[in-house]
Structures are given as C-alpha cells and as structure tokens.
C-alpha cells in the first residue's frame, strides 16, 4: 500500500517547519516561540490526521531559522516535535528538539511556597534531567517534573 504524499499545508520556500506538535499544545508552542511577534509569514494548521499523535498541529515559518536555545524551549511540552529546515523548497536538514540546559521565564515553579509564586520574579530553572524533563528551581531549589510543568 502506498501512502498518498499530498501536502496538507502549502510548502514554503525558505524557513522552518515544525511538525508533529500534539494538536492541543499547538497554541502553547506558538506562545513559547513568540510567533505573534514574528514579522515574516507564518502558516499554522491544526487537527491534521497523524498516525503517531491522532491529531497534530504544524507550523511553517518563512525566512526563520531558529537558534538551538530558542527552539529547544518547546521541548518542555513537545519532546517529539520534528523540525524541517527548508531552503529553496527542499528539506535540507531534519532535527528533533532537544532539552535545553536551562529554562528561563517560561515555566512556573510547582512549589506554591516559592518566592517566584509570591512576588514578581522571573523564573529560572536548571535542567537536571533531559528525559523525562526535570527542572530545578534556581530560587527554592525544588524539582518541577514533567507532569507538573505549567507554562506561564
């Protein structure tokens, strides 16, 4: 049986395609990457059929090539997302997202008694384990594990 290789979202000439985003997390990914501030054209699709995920989201960002620490932020919530780097309509590089070394400002500390949940303090975490991702708060030194990661 051959699979029909028809694109569900129109191709871009140059840029980055983020694929295999669980549908329910698509908008969080958009927030984390601050795509609302992106000046180039962004194509966003959601609820496409996926063998792996059931329903998936996909984001195509023209003329945008992410730095590692920029894109790795999304690994906090979508460790299986795939990146395709496109140049002149061709996929020139495929990447998986990797856990970053540190996480700043995105995640809420799960400790209700932490100063970051009491005053306006920018959160900072060290990644003590990449998979399952485990974060240690710079302030209260408590662990926030994968199940408890909440995006601010």
């Amino acid at each position: 049986m051959t699979k029909k290789k028809e694109l569900q979202v129109r191709a871009i000439k140059n840029g980055t395609v983020i694929d295999h985003i669980p549908a329910e997390l698509l908008f969080k990914v958009i927030n984390i990457l601050e795509l609302d501030k992106c000046p180039t054209s962004v194509t966003i699709g959601n609820n496409y059929k996926s063998d792996m995920l059931g329903k998936k989201g996909i984001i195509k960002i023209s003329e945008k090539f992410f730095e590692d620490d920029e894109i790795n932020k999304i690994s906090l919530i979508t460790p299986n997302a795939k990146l395709n780097i496109i140049r002149d309509y061709q996929v020139v590089e495929k990447r998986v997202v990797e856990a970053p070394n540190k996480v700043e400002g995105i995640v809420k500390c799960m400790n209700p008694k932490c100063i970051t949940n009491v005053e306006e303090v920018y959160t900072k975490f060290k990644v003590v384990n990449p998979s399952p991702i485990t974060l240690k708060c710079h302030y209260c030194e408590k662990i926030t594990d994968e199940k408890n990661i909440r995006i601010k």
Partner: protein
C-alpha cells in the same frame, strides 16, 4: 548579584567550607574582637527564630558590630504590603551586610540578587539554612577530627528537615556513607537522591530505628514537626516512631556523637543527655563561632 552572599550551602566550595571551619576554630579561641567596628549589620527576621537570631546577634556583638533590624514581620513594613524586593533595596543602602530569615522558599537567593551588599541566609522556609550546616560541620569536625569517610545516620523528618538537606549537600564533598532512617511519609526527597546518585554517594534508606546505628560516627536526630502535616492523623501516626533512648547506645562506637539542630521535643529521651555521646548542647554553642567565621568571610575580613 553579590557572590559574597551565603544563600545555599553549595555556594561554598569544599575549600571554602574548610577555610570557614578553620576560621571558626580561631574565633572559638578568641571570640572577642573589633573586626566589625564601624560596620552595620541588618538582621531581618520576617519570622521569629529566637535561637538563630540570638546566635547571630551574639556573633556580631562579639566582633564589635552594630545591629539594626526587626525580629518578626509584624514590626516591619511587610505588613503594609511592601515587597521583599523593596525592603531589601532599602536595607542594602543602610548596611554593610544583611542577615535574613524569611518563610518563603527562594527568598534568600532573590534577596542576594537584589541587594548590593552580601546576604547571609538564616533560613528560607523549608529550603536552606546554611549557617546551621556550617555549625553542624564544625561540630562533626571537632568531635571526629575529620569530615572525611564518616558514617552519617540521619533520623526523623528527612522530607521537610532542611538542616538534613543542607548537611547532606555539604558532606557530599567528604566521601560520606549516609543512612536515612525515616517513615515512608518523611523519606528523603527525590531531588537529593538524584544528587547522590549523580555524585556516587553511598546511601541506604531504613524504616527501622534499631541496632543499625552501631556503625554510626554521627547520629543526626531531627524533630518531626506537627506544622508540616496537612493531616493531623498522619502526624499522630509518625510522631513517636523514632525516639532515641539511652539503652540503644550501649553497643555504639566510642566516637559516636549525637547531634540535633534543636529545639528537641521528645525524639531524644532525657536520659541520653548525661551520656558522653550526647553533643547537641555543645553543638548549639558552636553556632556563634561558625557564624562569626561566615560573617568575616562575607565581608572579606
């Protein structure tokens, strides 16, 4: 951020720990000096802690320094809604050093980032209490002659007991073997097990408090605190499980010393006090010398 601050015991390297302990021994020989003459130290106690505060204030007074501050949050502007950020910014303009006790975890690290002068953490909620750790280390070194290769037994509330956590981190420089004796509800938190696994530190967990302590060099007892339990029934279940009695010490090592951060409630029976292996009251006195050494280091004296 001022890197002279002491927020968490892992702000000190092994060398710095040893340096401060050596300094503490000098202060024990000559506690009175005028090293802090002309200096003002802010003592900010957002929650009351008489023991720690008196120890710090004694240390500062014996070094000839002046103290400003408050002894609980009700006499500070916190009750008017001032943020920690603003309080620290203001106080760091007035003084050369801040000693702070605060109920919120991470408050000390945050204060050290906001402050222009060094901050010494005198306890931030259930998180860290590094000066207690330094006096514990000083007591261990003084009684054992070394910090290296010791069998350390920790008993009681290992989940919420921050003195346990900080001591564990500090001793990890010195190739210890840990034994943790606690009920399941109060076992040592995962973060510390991850830390010990990563650093190849030997440890065993026990729920029985019995003759396994015969191998111990140090027995570190802690109080099971009622206020840590959401469910009073849970507290009633575990509060009397780990009580040290004098007859349990008969086959223990001669060099064994029993430490306790104090105050004790009932976890060490009174008949232990007369045993020469009981060290908890001397341990408290060591706090003044350890804190003098920490203050001297923070101010580069």
């Amino acid at each position: 951020m001022d890197n002279k601050s002491l927020v968490s015991i892992d702000d000190y390297t092994k060398e710095e720990i040893l340096e401060v302990l050596a300094k503490a021994a000098e202060f024990e020989k000559n506690p009175n000096s005028n090293m802090l003459e002309g200096k003002v130290v802010s003592s900010l106690f957002f929650e009351p802690s008489t023991r720690t505060r008196l120890s710090f204030e004694t240390a500062i007074s014996r070094m000839g320094g002046k103290i400003v501050g408050f002894t609980d949050a009700s006499s500070s502007s916190t009750t008017k809604g001032e943020t920690l950020n603003d309080t620290i910014k203001m106080v760091s303009n007035y003084s050369d050093l801040i000693v702070m006790r605060h109920p919120i975890e991470g408050s000390a690290r945050y204060a050290s980032e906001v402050s222009d002068v060094p901050v010494i953490n005198a306890g931030d909620g259930a998180n860290q209490h590094p000066t207690q750790t330094m006096l514990d280390l000083y007591s261990i070194q003084k009684t054992q002659g070394t910090l290296e290769n010791l069998n350390i037994f920790m008993v009681g509330d290992l989940k919420y007991g921050r003195t346990v956590h900080s001591l564990l981190m500090a001793l990890s420089h010195f190739n210890p073997t840990f034994h943790f004796i606690a009920p399941k509800e109060l076992e040592i938190p995962r973060a510390y097990k991850i830390f010990m696994d990563k650093n190849n530190i030997k440890y065993q967990e026990h729920t029985e408090f019995n003759s396994i302590i015969n191998d111990a060099d140090i027995l570190y007892m802690t109080r099971v605190q009622r206020e840590r339990f959401a469910d009073p029934l849970e507290y009633e279940k575990v509060k009397n499980v780990y009580i040290l009695k004098n007859d349990m010490l008969k086959d223990t090592r001669d060099n064994l010393r029993i430490l306790h951060p104090l105050p004790r409630v009932n976890e060490i029976a009174v008949d232990v006090d007369a045993n020469p292996k009981a060290y908890y009251f001397e341990q408290a006195l060591n706090g003044v010398f350890a804190r003098q050494a920490i203050i001297a280091k923070a101010l580069d004296l």
